[in-house]
């Protein structure tokens, strides 16, 4: 598959794939090279994985490993250099209808000329959702992120964390089938962060939405995900695709104090350290058997 892998080592491990039409979202041999005046920048070398419908996967990786780039390719904002993204079996060539994205740069993703409520409402209004239904969805979403008291404020009157919650409310109100989130909690305080993590899990279970959640916080990835996809540092491939075998019912105190939680976060931590030191993912395959799929 990759000509540059040295002989003797196994090829870079791909993420988990599903047979036939079971996958909601498929990423196949995705490669992205930015062509700039200063030369080509290879942001992502080769990524392959599937998400099944209703799955919640977290994506972790060192800074600059191409997480944002991957999300932009998945959401159809950018065409990959090689490989493809399939949504329900159809290649993605532009932003799909039933997909919502929460961007990393929360401060720049809300319309500063619209009030909070109008921001959340706009995508629904644009879709022609009737007034009464729209009002309900917007109210529920604002309530869910704890912002029902500021619907008439402008985004720039709010703190960074509140702005990010507005962006999350907008995505939730939109009722997407696939929700992509790019480090959405980077700017919120610890308490709000914990609340929002639980909110994401609640929304995920209630709506049955497929979520790909990018974070650099290891604890968060283990706490939130059913699965954690770890990216290597550049040249970016999948370092490991780890199943999180924690009980489905999670809560901040108990889940985080489970021995298995600690094991998993140790493992993810190690993998990221390895990734940062530029260890080839082939080495990761060996450690995988010791911690990744060890008995719970």
């Amino acid at each position: 598959m990759q000509s540059e892998t040295t002989p003797g080592t196994t090829p870079a491990p791909a993420g988990k794939t599903l047979p036939g039409n079971e996958a909601m979202l498929s990423v196949r041999n995705l490669k992205k090279v930015y062509k700039t005046d200063g030369g080509d920048i290879e942001a992502v070398r080769n990524l392959t994985f599937d998400l099944k419908a209703g799955e919640l996967a977290c994506l972790v990786g060192p800074s600059g490993s191409g997480k944002t780039t991957l999300l932009k390719c998945i959401s159809g904002l950018m065409a990959p250099t090689e490989g493809e993204v399939l949504l329900n079996g159809t290649p993605v060539s532009g932003p799909p209808k039933k997909m919502a994205v929460v961007f990393q740069e929360y401060g720049r993703s809300l319309f500063p000329w619209m009030r909070v409520r109008e921001n959340v409402e706009l995508p629904l209004k644009n879709q022609g959702v009737p007034r009464a239904e729209r009002d309900k969805l917007v109210d529920d979403a604002l309530e869910a992120v704890g912002l029902s008291h500021v619907p008439q404020s402008y985004p720039w009157q709010l703190s960074g964390g509140m702005q990010q919650r507005v962006a999350i409310a907008r995505a939730v109100a939109y009722q997407p089938e696939v929700l992509l989130m790019d480090e959405p909690f980077a700017a919120v305080d610890a308490q709000t962060r914990a609340d929002l993590e639980d909110l994401i899990r609640t929304v995920w279970r209630k709506l049955g939405v497929t979520v790909l959640f990018v974070t650099h916080d290891i604890d968060e990835s283990v706490y939130l995900g059913e699965r954690v996809i770890i990216l290597s540092s550049s040249p970016t491939v999948i370092q490991e695709d780890l199943t999180i075998d924690l009980p489905d019912e999670r809560d901040q105190l108990n889940t985080r104090s489970l021995p298995r939680f600690t094991e998993l976060r140790h493992h993810v931590y190690e993998q990221i350290q390895l990734a940062k030191q530029g260890h080839s993912p082939a080495a990761a395959v060996q450690t995988d058997s010791s911690a990744g799929s060890g008995a719970a």
Partner: protein, 257 residues
């Protein structure tokens, strides 16, 4: 109380200036500089009568039509050129050239082409006023934030909705700056378009008074122009404050950090 204070600030300086003017014209009698009383008298006599309908209103009408057309043309063309890359690359050098031509030189040209008509005068105003609006709109459309644009894109906001909810508001501050310039250029061109071979209008009347040495009347015409300018400026500021309230608020927050 607040209202009185605002009014005080508004009128204090003009009143002081008139007082200085009055004091300096007390002793001497310079034929070319009338006293305030004389000017006020000439003003009332000259402008509160037939001339409102024969000169002032037609001039203002042409100004309004010219400026409004320039704003609409500038915004529509600016949206188009700003959003389409190849159109921008194609038109940019040409636009710079046309913008560099001082609009008054177009008066004789347009006069030959269109005759001395209202249409010609409006065309002169448009030809000068359209540039700041057009170029600012192009600039504003180009400067739309990438993340905001991506957000709109992922939420399926395309076409007209994109223009209405994203492009126009985002370029709003720049467009308003263009309109401000457009208004002052418009007033100048309104006068100039009436100074050549015309038979009515404010510009014509003022030149007429000057030629017949009706000095106080000539000055009173200049006062009328000043008043129109002030009125335009007030209307502009009032509108701008409403349209760009979010922008001023945002700037305040940013500056406070």
């Amino acid at each position: 109380m607040r209202f009185l204070k605002t009014l005080g600030y508004l009128l204090a300086l003009p009143l002081i200036l008139v007082a200085i003017w009055w004091a300096s014209t007390l002793g001497e009698t310079n034929f070319f500089v009338p006293t305030p009383a004389l000017l006020a008298e000439a003003f009332a006599e000259t402008w509160f009568g037939e001339r409102i309908f024969s000169d002032v209103l037609p001039s203002i009408g042409r100004l309004v039509v010219g400026v409004a057309s320039a704003i609409i043309i500038g915004i529509v063309a600016g949206l188009l050129i700003g959003s389409v890359k190849w159109l921008r690359d194609l038109t940019e050098p040409v636009l710079e050239f046309f913008r560099a031509i001082p609009p008054p030189v177009l008066v004789p040209v347009l006069m030959l082409l269109m005759g001395i008509t209202d249409g010609m005068k409006v065309a002169v105003i448009i030809s000068g006023c359209v540039w700041p609006v057009l170029l600012n709109t192009i600039e504003g459309v180009r400067a739309i934030d990438g993340v905001l644009s991506d957000s709109a894109h992922t939420y399926g906001i395309h076409g007209w909705a994109r223009i209405k909810y994203l492009v126009l508001p985002s370029a709003g501050p720049q467009i308003m700056a263009g309109i401000r310039q457009c208004l002052s250029i418009g007033l100048i061109l309104m006068v100039i378009s009436e100074m050549f071979a015309s038979s009515s209008g404010l510009g014509f009347t003022i030149v007429q008074f000057q030629r017949s040495f009706a000095i106080p009347e000539m000055w009173s015409g200049i006062v009328v122009l000043g008043l129109i300018g002030v009125a335009l400026s007030f209307i502009f500021q009032w509108t701008e404050r409403r349209v760009l309230r979010w922008y001023h608020g945002l700037r305040e927050v940013e500056n406070a950090v």
